[in-house]
Amino acid sequence: METPNCARGTAGASDISGRLLRWAACVARMEYGPLIGVKAKQFTTLVDAMLRRSHGLAVVLALSLAAVAGCRDAGPQPSPAGPLLFQDVTAQVGLSFVHDAGQPGDYFMPQIVGSGVALFDFDNDGRLDIYLVHNAGPSSKSTNRLFHQEKDGRFRDVSAGSGLDIAGYGMGVAVGDINNDGWPDVLVTQYGGSRLFLNKGSGTFTDITRSAGLDLVFWGTSASFVDYDRDGWLDLVIVHYVDYGPDRPCTDIGGRREYCPPKAFPGTIAKLYHNLGSASGGRKPPVANKQGAYAPRSPVRFEDVTLKSGLGKKPGPGLGIVCADFNGDNWPDILIANDGQPNYLWINQHDGTFREEGLRRGVAYNAEGQAQANMGIALGDVDGDQRFDLFITHLTEETNILWRQTAVGRFQDRTAVSGLAATRWRGTGFGTVMADFDCDGAPDLAVVNGRITYGKPPESAIAGADVELGPFWRHYADRNQVFLNYGRGTFLDMSPANIPFCGRPGIFRGLACGDIDNDGALDLLTTCVSGPARLFRNIAAPRGHWLLARAIDPALRRDAYGAEVTVQAGGRRFKRWLNPGYSYLCSNDPRLHFGLGQADHVEVIEVLWPNGDAEEFHDVKVDQAIELRKGSGKPRSPNQPEA
């Protein structure tokens, strides 16, 4: 990989004039991006011969070129060169969805918060389907869309009659099987009341919000299903944003109408709902009907345990969520990203209550002790130490933060040393995923951006893309970013080389990740305020070996949310954590993806199940999708939880 360093000159330059010329060419290439970069490189080669004849000429040429390139303003930058990771296949797969954010210029705050997406297999046919959310209000004709992936990889709109074709100020989606019938159910968060839908197993869903005892009046954003009490039934945690009043006018400092900042309103509490399971109290498995669909023995019921659990004690402008075991005690905890306020890390006390320990564990503030505009969350082990790290997106004027887990349950802001502070460009980050795009064994990063305040739109690297949003929304557009982890948690900005994913300005919000075409490489799906959803197929080459694992508890007939899976291959250990609720307003592929690099065989797979049981699986080949079924592995003693 070519990585010129303009400050030092390209290796091999033996004299001052040569260095000057190469430096100037390098600056010119950086200034004008990858396209001119090729020309500048050729130019550098061509003039090499000239250099031998006249050093003076080289000096003058170098200075002139540098002046043209505006080198006075160019600091040292990473190379724009790098592999192309994604290809936009939206049209190719027939995914046609343009987000409706309502009337432009309303300055109705939910518009700018955007809407998310779910990647899930609603009909259990082994292929990921897509559920996309609109945001134009309950009286709008724009209803949320459900797309079914056909055998040929194309998507068919099956919204009509699905029950999910609802209109509202839609925000996020969470997916989980709440009644353990084997069919994934759906929660849609909204401004003005979220809604819960039960998958009937026939491609249709029923709204059970009221009957399930959910009283959802707040402005819901991200949400996640988590079995916090380890009773086998997925509970629900919904993050809420602010107590917004649309009547309050907000302006920027110049007096121009603008979307309100979160600080204009009080934050609200996240709500935790305990799944009561079978109302009859038993945990008997549900029975299948004639079509093979499982019907619960009794209606699904949730109890609001927000206050009892402690979550009600701390309101905040919540946007992002991740549920995982943060302190190594084998009980799931809850991290909530707050916009402009310290993050909350609710540590499970094993008795139905939680204690907020964000500050204690180092994730409340950044290294400067500042609470930033925390939005989307990605989770993964960037440095291969078997402990997950966190990446949280922020505003342009802030920095997206990488918190490394330096010891079990202890996090430190290591953004600068990871190469993530000095990026080619910045944006206001929302959705983010940590996933191994090139299957080299080190999780990479993708971030989608979009402004929240009016500004000059960035130039588009794709012809015509900048006018796609229209005259109002284009002023809120930003470009996405992608970073490759080249081992031990150090990242290189690959955004300029990835024009399909990063070159198109948009007001991006949701970013979902999953292996849509089941080829062992993780694909990306983005949502955009008032713009089209886009599907990006992973075309990274070369890629390493891989494994796609689904961890299932057969007794519960569902994915084992909360399971921790470690693959040992080629002498390295790769660890993943199962919960599809991460990024921003999104639900992702519940399968765990492992990039294995050069390792061509798996030595062992260890699974720590949510209830604390541990098993290991042997004789697994690489480059395949597998199912890890609880009870079918060899039991092993789990790691001792933290004292």
Binding site: S54, V60, G75, V217, G245, P246, D247, P315, A367, A421
Partner: protein
């Protein structure tokens, strides 16, 4: 007979080389002249100042921007005029246009440090790494010319940016230069402490952070960093103590930066003036604040925002009749203003006009279905009117909209107890005590309910 074919004269290798050299010299001279012309053109050409998009802008702000732009047009080679326009545009968030002006100011006056400094400051919003060359240049110029306290502010910003961007060695050197001039500077100690933490040099970090924590200007930030330091060192009791301490501390005051502060002289417009009035009110200068709000209302007679701000201030100052009139004007201008209806209700309550108050609160809840405070106020109104069913509905609405508001749970519990629905009352009082364990009213009610049970 042989005929001699004339042969061309043999090339003189010396002459040829001489000609080539001459050509190279001429080419060189031409290129040098071209480069010099280009340099001259770039540095002295007269530019037209950018035209900021003023659509929707406050007229007062637009006037300031236009005035400074006119000044540039009148004196296009005046660095100060360009700089002032850049500063005004910077203040009102026209950052890209501001940068253009500041770059031109720097071209015209390359020795003035404030122009690269402002460019760097602007770039901090978009890309801190790109800001660094500008900040370095500003610091260098300032050091060369003045080396005074203003330069320290510049160097401090440079040092902190270097630290954030991970240039630890350069950041350390920069911080240490500041320390040489002001050995007690708490902000420098805070920076050095954080830097040492990044390097996991705990002893060094502790020393600096303790010094920073001893100064009221940096006590909160330093205490927070100390909590993390103790955590990293495994000293949980000290970390817990530091966390408790920092939660009780007010925010550290913002650090003065004369170059940034001075651009505030251009600040104007409705929003700024309302904020200034808010500040006066917070400082207890009520009469001055109300006068300022009044002036804004006069200048922006159709601004519901300004009328509402004045109404709120009058209510808080105890002038309920004036507040009522002002808030009525607000809802006249903006009939859907739920918050204004809530405040209007409060002015009626203060004047003991219960029926009007209830109507206002009711309207607020109709406009905003999850308006917890309006439900709560409505409940209290209905209770005083002895309308128990309506009060019960309102308090239930308050609890539903504000489940973390202990007073709403207590009020609902009391009412439920009054109508002998003790089981539900006990549930509500328990929730109130979960949120506010020391609430005396709730505690008494719980005891009463338990005894009855």
């Amino acid at each position: 007979m042989t005929s001699a074919i004339p042969t061309p004269p043999a090339a003189n290798p010396q002459r040829s080389a001489l000609r080539r050299r001459g050509l190279v010299v001429v080419l060189l001279l031409l290129l040098a002249a071209g480069a010099a012309s280009w340099w001259w053109y770039r540095h002295t050409r007269v530019m037209t100042p950018p035209v900021a998009d003023l659509e929707g802008i406050d007229p007062a702000v637009a006037a300031v921007i236009t005035k400074e732009r006119q000044a540039v047009l009148a004196a296009p080679r005046d660095a100060s005029a360009w700089g002032r326009l850049g500063e005004v545009l910077e203040l009102f968030n026209f950052r890209k246009d501001a940068r253009v002006c500041l770059m031109q100011a720097e071209r015209l006056d390359p020795e003035q440090p404030r122009w690269p400094y402002h460019q760097g400051f602007l770039l901090l919003w978009d890309n801190a790494e790109e800001a660094l060359p500008h900040l370095r240049r500003a610091v260098e110029l300032e050091d060369r010319q003045h080396a005074g306290p203003a330069g320290d502010a510049m160097r401090l910003r440079l040092s902190e940016t270097l630290l954030t961007q991970g240039h630890l060695d350069e950041a350390e050197e920069s911080f240490r230069r500041l320390l040489k001039r002001d050995v007690l500077n708490p902000r420098v100690h805070l920076g050095l402490g954080r830097l040492a933490m990044q390097r996991q040099e705990w002893k060094e970090a502790l020393s600096h952070l303790q010094q920073a924590a001893a100064d009221k200007r940096t006590i909160r930030a330093a205490t927070l960093a100390l909590a993390e330091l103790y955590e990293q060192r495994g000293d949980e009791p000290a970390a817990a103590q530091a966390r408790v301490q920092q939660e009780k501390l007010p925010l550290d005051p913002s650090w003065p930066d004369p170059f940034v502060d001075e651009i505030q002289r251009f600040n104007t417009g409705k929003r700024t003036r309302l904020m200034q009035a808010d500040q006066l009110f917070k400082q207890g200068r009520t009469a001055e604040a109300i006068a300022q709000y009044g002036q804004v209302v006069k200048d922006y007679a159709n601004s519901d925002e300004a009328w509402f701000a004045l109404g709120q201030a009058l209510y808080r100052a105890g002038d309920f009749a004036s507040a009522q009139r002002t808030l009525q004007k607000t809802v006249e201008l903006k009939p859907g203003y739920a918050e204004a209806y809530n405040y209007l209700g409060l002015t009626f309550v203060a004047q003991e006009k219960r029926e009007d108050a209830a109507a206002s609160f009711q309207k607020a809840t109709e406009l905003k279905k999850d308006f917890g405070h309006a439900y709560f106020n409505l409940g209290r109104c209905r209770l005083e009117q002895k309308n128990i069913p309506a009060a019960l509905d309102a308090f239930r609405g308050a609890v539903r909209s504000m489940p973390n508001y202990a007073a709403a749970h207590t009020a609902l519990a009391e009412l439920l107890h009054q109508i002998h629905q003790d089981a539900e009352a006990l549930d509500e009082v328990r929730q109130a005590l979960q949120l506010s364990p020391e609430d005396e009213r709730a505690k008494q009610l719980r005891e009463k309910l338990k005894a009855k049970k």
